[in-house]
């Protein structure tokens, strides 16, 4: 990858991209961290997919015996946990990392080392949770981990310990990244890149970071309570001591519902940026698309209890949460209509990226409509915790999030690697995925309405579910084949894909103004942005000259922040095309070393990795405490002492490593002076 990076003229003298294991361990470059996120998340996507395949094999027919009840419960718990926290969120994070600085015209994120830390916490946390498989003690409480089932009284094993500790670790990663991206987007936009000129993906990312920083503390509190219950004998969820288990449910879903938007909005953002490039038209109703993102996110915090209509909250709460949930359909519907309007009148190129965008519009609609159907509490009482719900959220998360993320992968792979993914293999991937997805998840609507509960490892014959389950399983196998095409495509295209050049799709946004893959410093000269579609202004001034917002909006939005003017009056690209291309917006085709262009970049460092490692060791060490408690109950005093010793070694060792590395990190300047 790296040698492809530089243009031939500079290839061997520049070493713009160092290679080798240590260069990846120590990188603080947002693009390389984004690449790490991308491939790690794709790996976890395959792992979560494998778990799903085993689930579908078990449920292919009645009375499945492929895996035991216990293993099945671990599989569906880990499938959900993996797909949500280790696959979809990090896939989104890959694009946040890679694209936010490029789209806003910045050289990196605000805190490059914190960014590396986020990644290492994520990957180590993912490994930590999955280590539980080795002990055959993978989490088995469902991804929602309802108390009191997850308390020691009902889950005495280490399974839930891995989950409760692992999710806290992953939460640190998401929170650190969230603050980092918020700071980046607020502070590091190129001149002229005012908020209403930001690409839609950056907007979605911006909104999602607020969801993350507001929602993750809530789940963290819920998890800390559960951790204290499990390890230190507190009674937050101990029902025998009078605890109310609805505390967990409320805390979990106050996080859990915004989490749905954390998973879907980045995909919405990607589609809103990918569609215009492949239909040759700007996004329809940009301001409405932005406001609907914000509105969805805002309303998303007020609907959590629609996951709890069956718990008996009473008619008032049911009414309130039912109605607020229905309201979300409005901004979501607007997005669907606006995407269709974007395609309307365009020149649609059916590239793989575009097909995945279209698939999101087509399939997410189904998930959205079934969502409205269980927004009605009485109807939901016949739907909740059945396969109808499974169908619904897979249409949202696979038909929505994954389709958008696949679109992003096909669209941005050339930017990331310099080579295009094969369109031929891509079409196979797309059609198998589209067919497989619908064959897997559509029959689940039927089996759910015909009474099949969720999370069951077996079902009796003669319940009217056999045919639907068989169809779902066949669909899942087709999906697996489709996913293998993606893997093949990535491997093949990395080696021998067509060279992409700066801008293979004719896209309008800043990231396409620089070489693919971008040089370490991103922009040799930070561009001055005068519209939402700076590259189209340059390349097709005749078309954009009539754009109402690109001049009128400027005058309206001209604001001064701290004495610095952020909005620039737009003279109209047609009249000023020379000026636009020469001084405000430009295409960079050459790749230099940072030194050649006089750019000081942060030094690579492994300290964030060691801070993350220390933290994960420290937060994982209570496992030994659990082992000690088990041995104590078993009357094994010596074993108890050994395990407690291990606990103290790990907790103090991890803490020492974390604090030491953190001090070292904080006392080292971001950039060394010798440049």
């Amino acid at each position: 990858m790296a040698t492809i990076a530089a243009t031939p003229a500079h290839a061997h003298e520049s070493h713009a991209h160092p290679t080798g294991f240590m260069s990846w361990m120590s990188t603080v470059d947002h693009k390389r961290i984004g690449t790490l996120y991308l491939f790690t998340a794709l790996f976890f996507f395959l792992l979560g997919g494998l778990e799903a395949e085993i689930i579908r094999m078990q449920l292919q027919g009645p009375n499945g015996t492929l895996v035991s009840a216990e293993t099945y419960n671990q599989l569906f718990t880990m499938h959900g946990t993996t797909m949500i926290f280790l696959a979809i969120m990090p896939l989104s994070a890959a694009f946040f990392n890679y694209l936010i600085p490029l789209q806003i015209g910045a050289r990196d994120v605000a805190f490059p080392r914190l960014n590396a830390f986020s990644y290492w916490v994520y990957v180590l946390g993912g490994i930590f949770i999955n280590l539980s498989w080795l002990l055959h003690a993978a989490p088995d409480g469902g991804w929602f981990g309802y108390a009191p089932l997850t308390t020691r009284a009902y889950s005495p094993g280490m399974n839930i310990d891995f989950w409760v500790l692992g999710l806290q670790i992953l939460g640190v990663s998401s929170l650190a990244a969230g603050f980092n991206f918020i700071t980046t987007i607020i502070n590091m936009r190129a001149p002229g890149m005012n908020l209403m000129r930001m690409p839609m993906f950056t907007w979605a990312a911006f909104v999602v970071q607020f969801l993350i920083v507001l929602a993750f503390p809530v789940i963290t509190i819920a998890l800390v309570f559960l951790m204290f219950d499990r390890f230190f004998g507190t009674n937050f969820y101990t029902t025998a001591a009078g605890a109310d288990p609805l505390l967990w449910q409320h805390l979990f879903w106050i996080f859990g519902h915004p989490e749905v938007y954390i998973l879907i909005l980045p995909a919405f953002g990607l589609v809103s940026d990918v569609l215009p490039a492949h239909t040759r038209k700007p996004i329809f109703g940009y301001p409405v698309m932005v406001f609907s993102l914000i509105l969805i996110a805002f309303l998303g915090f007020g609907v959590w209890a629609h996951h709890m209509f069956a718990v008996g909250m009473g008619p008032i709460a049911d009414t309130v949460f039912g109605l607020t949930t229905m309201l979300i359909a409005i901004p979501t519907g607007v997005k669907i209509f606006n995407w269709i309007a974007t395609m309307h009148g365009g020149s649609i190129r059916f590239t793989t990226a575009c097909l995945f965008c279209i698939a999101l519009v087509a399939f997410f609609t189904i998930g959205g409509l079934s969502g409205v159907m269980h927004a009605s509490p009485p109807a939901d009482l016949q739907q909740t915790d059945t396969y109808f719900i499974v169908a619904h959220f897979h249409y949202v998360l696979f038909g929505g999030s994954m389709m958008g993320l696949f679109a992003g992968v096909y669209h941005y792979f050339p930017k990331i690697t310099g080579r295009l993914l094969s369109e031929r293999i891509g079409k196979w991937h797309f059609w198998l995925t589209a067919i497989g997805m619908n064959l897997t998840f559509f029959p689940m609507h039927m089996s759910g309405l015909l009474g099949m509960p969720r999370r069951i490892y077996r079902y009796d014959a003669g319940q009217g579910w056999d045919g639907f389950n068989l169809a779902s399983s066949i669909g899942a196998y087709i999906l697996a084949v489709g996913t293998l095409f993606l893997v093949w495509n990535i491997i093949k295209s990395l080696r021998s894909g067509t060279r992409a050049g700066n801008d293979p799709w004719g896209s309008p946004t800043l990231e396409w103004a620089i070489p693919s893959p971008p040089p370490e410093y991103n922009f040799a000269r930070i561009p001055t942005v005068t519209s939402r579609y700076p590259l189209w202004d340059m390349k097709q001034p005749a078309l954009t000259s009539e754009v109402p917002h690109s001049h009128r909006g400027d005058k309206e939005m001209e604001v001064a922040v701290g004495g610095k003017t952020v909005g620039h009056p737009h003279p109209g690209p047609a009249a000023q095309s020379t000026r636009v291309s020469e001084s405000e917006m430009h295409i960079e085709t050459e790749t230099y070393t940072p030194a050649q262009v006089g750019i000081v970049l942060p030094d690579p460092t492994v300290k964030p990795f060691f801070v993350a490692l220390g933290m994960v060791i420290m937060l994982g060490s209570p496992l030994f405490m659990h082992e000690a408690q088990i041995r104590e109950i078993a009357g094994n005093a010596a074993g108890h002492r050994t395990a407690m010793t291990m606990f103290w070694i790990f907790v103090l060792g991890g803490a020492a490593l974390m604090v030491g590395s953190l001090y070292n990190w904080l006392l080292t300047p971001l950039e060394s002076d010798h440049h």
Partner: protein, 426 residues
């Protein structure tokens, strides 16, 4: 109605007809757990909302997908086509398609709110009260108005409102009989209510299930509900109220010394209480009375189909109920199970076994209640049902939870005797 409404009404009628067709295809014996049935006011309420939602959803779905496909076809890229005109939005259009969903939502919200308050109102005062207590992984049903406690099999009189009082003994469960009503969770330290009237239900059996994930055997936490005539219901409760039948009612197998109880004292007690109960009940317990749903009338969809797990077998002579009663009464069984009429058996943890012989399934609907399954169940419950709290009792059996082999357990012959005893408790 005026002519302007007609096209919409026609569309509505057509879609409703299509839906009705789909629903009829989804009901009956082919889909025995369907929600598309109207046996209770609860389900009629839900179904009417569902139909409204389905109508609008189908309409929106068709319009969106048709618009999408048309746009894809019409605006596909063509050779030599100039770059399309840049359109950045259309305020009026966007306002219109913001308002249309909002208006549609009003059509959904109004019946929803109405139904919320209707279904969550207090049940009628003379409703049949049934306490449902969830356990890992079985159901306890108590009829406080009748003094009846049973497990995993629920009897409901047709036409009478039943008010379920839902509680749990451990984790959260969810009570659901899809063809009769919506589900409601059993939440620790909470009491929930759910009521409906099976007013147009036939005399038949229904499947019920737990719908909130509750641990290892969540999938195996099922139950059967039987809707019976009010007269049958009275007979059933009268019979259920009687103490254990063994020794008092006709023995299970002709020729078995059923009149030779384990202890003389308990036999007298049993006979005495049986007589008292008989005289108290309105319908005398006769041979012809309804004491439980007949096994030969179990619909196919209520028959358990789980095969016996591999590696567990049973080999013994047919058991003797009297001996079985003795063995039962000195074994671990009594620590958890209650058999009214057997003074030794006062346990509160497991299902009440007073009339276990009259039940059609064991293990919360997991296996048929026959000699073989019951014997294997007692021998190694934890192999028969994952995670089961009931310990493995068979001598030499491997307990998958304790990961040890049971050394001082029951022999196959002892189990056969206990089975004979339990099966005699009709």
């Amino acid at each position: 109605m005026t002519a302007t409404h007609r096209p919409r009404r026609r569309l509505h009628a057509a879609l409703t007809a299509a839906l009705a067709f789909a629903i009829s295809a989804c009901s009956g014996d082919k889909y025995p757990n369907t929600i598309f049935e109207r046996h209770t006011e609860f389900n009629r309420e839900v179904l009417s909302i569902f139909n409204t939602m389905f109508f609008w959803s189908a309409l929106v779905f068709v319009l969106v997908e048709v618009a999408l496909l048309w746009v894809l076809w019409r605006y596909r890229r063509r050779e030599g086509q100039p770059e399309p005109k840049h359109v950045h939005g259309h305020t009026t259009l966007e306002i219109v398609w913001t308002l249309i969903p909002a208006v549609i939502l009003i059509f959904l919200a109004v019946p929803t709110v109405r139904a919320i308050f209707r279904t969550q109102a207090k049940a009628v005062p003379n409703a049949l009260q049934v306490q449902v207590i969830g356990h890992q992984w079985w159901w306890e049903f108590r009829y406080p108005q009748y003094g009846v406690i049973t497990a995993n099999e629920l009897y409901l009189p047709i036409g009478r409102t039943v008010n379920f009082e839902l509680k749990t003994a451990d984790v959260i469960h969810s009570f659901w009989i899809p063809r009769l009503g919506g589900k409601r969770d059993l939440v620790s330290n909470h009491t929930n209510y759910l009521w409906f009237t099976p007013d147009s239900a036939d005399e038949t059996a229904w499947n019920g299930s737990c719908n909130e994930y509750c641990g290892a055997s969540h999938a195996n936490m099922r139950f059967r509900a039987f809707t019976v005539t009010p007269a049958q219901f009275e007979e059933w409760t009268a019979h259920q109220k009687t103490p254990a039948a063994f020794g008092a009612v006709a023995p299970a197998t002709p020729g078995q010394p059923a009149t030779q109880p384990a202890t003389t004292q308990s036999a007298t007690t049993q006979t005495a209480t049986t007589q008292t109960a008989t005289t108290q009940s309105t319908t005398p317990v006769t041979a012809a009375s309804f004491t439980g749903w007949p096994a030969d009338r179990m619909p196919a969809y209520t028959e358990p189909t789980k095969p016996i797990p591999a590696g567990i077998s049973f080999n013994a002579q047919p058991g003797d109920p009297a001996r079985g009663q003795q063995i039962y009464s000195r074994s671990a069984c009594i620590g958890c199970h209650m058999i009214s009429g057997n003074p030794m058996s006062m346990g509160q943890i497991g299902p009440n076994l007073t009339h276990v012989g009259s039940r059609l399934t064991i293990g919360a609907g997991l296996y048929p209640n026959d000699d073989q399954h019951l014997a294997l169940w007692i021998k190694n419950t934890r192999a028969m049902k994952p995670g089961s709290i009931m310990p493995t009792l068979g001598k030499g059996e491997y307990d998958p939870i304790l990961a040890t082999t049971v050394t001082s357990g029951l022999t196959d012959q002892e189990i056969a005797d206990i089975v004979a005893y339990l099966r005699a408790l009709k």
